[in-house]
């Protein structure tokens, strides 16, 4: 492992995964094309009903709709997480080469991705946990294309590993998904921007101070001039 020290977690209960997703949904602008990765990112779709946001399913669908009700599943219509989904007025289907032309071609306003680690420079490590012992192979999926191609990358993740180690660090120790690609990190404790001057702490959950967040983070944080308590 990376030799990181375990840190003491404040007693305030961290955000549930659904609330991380809600904070991210509130960041999305109307008129955006958005791709959601597997895990917490997928939950963002629960918070955008009625908004002018078009989701791309990278398997080959734009305006991907909500999950299909039991009994209404169409085996030919799924998202990248292999969930049966609905079509909506204005949906379209296309092949995967077109799907990734959209992604690499800069047409996605936002990609929301999970992460194992994020560095102070915005490097993202998300596809290969070395503890699995598979070496240089693993499940890459669409993550590298999205990290490189989306105009804005928002990471949605827990602040710590299940073992209690910080996931935000000066340098990633796991194999990278892409270098310097992350714009914003939203965790169950904080919102942190990645800037040319390093990481900037923008928000923390109620009852947790900027000092607490710094102790929980293995990279230096600057505190934003407009630092505030997170609102949902």
């Amino acid at each position: 492992m990376s030799g990181l020290k375990k840190v003491i977690i404040p007693e305030m209960p961290p955000l549930e995964r659904e609330m991380i997703a809600l904070r991210i949904a509130n960041m999305l602008e109307e008129g955006s094309y958005v791709n959601l990765g597997i895990g917490i990112p997928t939950l963002v779709s629960n918070w955008i009903e009625g908004r002018d946001i078009i989701l791309q399913a990278e398997i080959g669908m734009l305006k991907s709709g909500p999950l299909a009700e039991e009994g209404q599943e169409e085996q030919d219509r799924i998202n990248a997480s292999c969930q049966f989904i609905c079509a909506m007025p204005g949906s379209s289907y296309f092949d995967i080469e077109t799907s990734f032309a959209m992604i690499r071609g800069g047409r996605m306003n936002v990609a929301v991705l999970g992460a194992l680690q994020v560095s102070a420079k915005g490097d993202l490590a998300g596809w290969n946990n070395p503890s699995r012992g598979l070496g240089k192979v693993g499940n890459i999926g669409g993550s590298m294309d999205l990290a490189v191609g989306a105009r804005k990358v928002i990471v949605a993740m827990e602040h710590f590993t299940p073992g209690g180690e910080p996931k935000i660090m000066s340098e990633c120790s796991y194999p990278l998904t892409a270098k310097a690609c992350v714009d914003v990190i939203v965790t169950n404790y904080a919102v942190i921007d990645v800037t040319p001057d390093g990481l900037v702490l923008k928000e923390a959950i109620p009852g947790v101070t900027a000092e607490d967040i710094q102790k929980m983070t293995a990279a230096p944080l600057k505190v934003a001039a407009d630092f505030k308590e997170m609102e949902l």
Partner: protein, 233 residues
């Protein structure tokens, strides 16, 4: 030109030991189930499999693995998502024991390697993968101030694909997100074999709504609507 075959067995009869075969599909959508099941009964071996999934969400390819017919896999998401499930998974075990070699690519690169093979392009540059293990040992070149990695085309001996409707000329139409890899793999195949749910005579499909033109397809065989258990990651 009549490309229709009477059975899947007949359509795959010339698949040889050591062949490189692309299998279309993504979880439950657009997989050539019947062609793959027929291949598992042939005993051909030493195969290189090009596919999105191997095993989890693709039980038919898993059968080829369990039969010992596979020597190499080229994929983008080959392993079970869960590390714990992976340890018990026959494909992951074969990889860990060195019985099957694996190459992985990002999806965008994986599909473009196939598309290029079908489009007469030997290689292409992409910004995806730069600075990662994917780019190790490959040429890097800067265009417009951005680093790109050189990736090569991936031609395949056979492409097994699945379409919703096809005509006897090999023109194909896909359904919903079952389109996924089918078109790129049809283009990449030296011999492309399409199983179709419904086969019609020439003239039975609207030329304005063909997804893969028949020139990319060598054989067509009607298999009906596939029956799937619930898809699982």
């Amino acid at each position: 030109m009549d490309k229709a075959y009477a059975s899947v067995e007949e359509a795959i009869k010339d698949v040889f030991d050591g062949a490189v075969i692309a299998f279309a599909g993504f979880f439950s959508a657009g997989r050539p189930l019947e062609l793959t099941r027929a291949l598992a009964k042939t005993g051909v071996k030493g195969l290189t499999i090009v596919a999105q999934q191997v095993g989890t969400g693709n039980e038919e390819i898993l059968e080829l693995v369990v039969n010992g017919q596979v020597k190499k896999v080229i994929s983008n998401y080959p392993f079970p998502r869960s590390a714990t499930k992976g340890l018990e998974h026959p494909f992951e075990q074969a990889v860990r024991q060195g019985r099957i070699k694996v190459e992985v690519y990002p999806i965008g690169t994986f599909v473009e390697k196939l598309r290029c093979a079908g489009a007469g392009l030997p290689a292409f540059y992409t910004p995806t993968g730069v600075g990662t293990v994917v780019a190790e040992g490959k040429e890097i070149r800067v265009f417009n101030g951005i680093e790109n990695v050189l990736e090569t085309a991936l031609p395949v001996d056979f492409a097994f694909i699945h379409a919703w409707k096809g005509d006897r000329e090999g023109n194909l139409v896909y359904h919903c997100t079952a389109r996924n890899y089918n078109n790129a793999m049809a283009m990449a195949g030296k011999v492309t074999i399409a199983e179709v749910e419904t086969l019609v005579d020439a003239g039975g499909l609207d030329p304005d709504f063909i997804h893969t033109p028949g020139i990319f397809v060598k054989r067509v065989v009607e298999v009906g609507r596939p029956k799937l258990e619930k898809a699982s990651v």
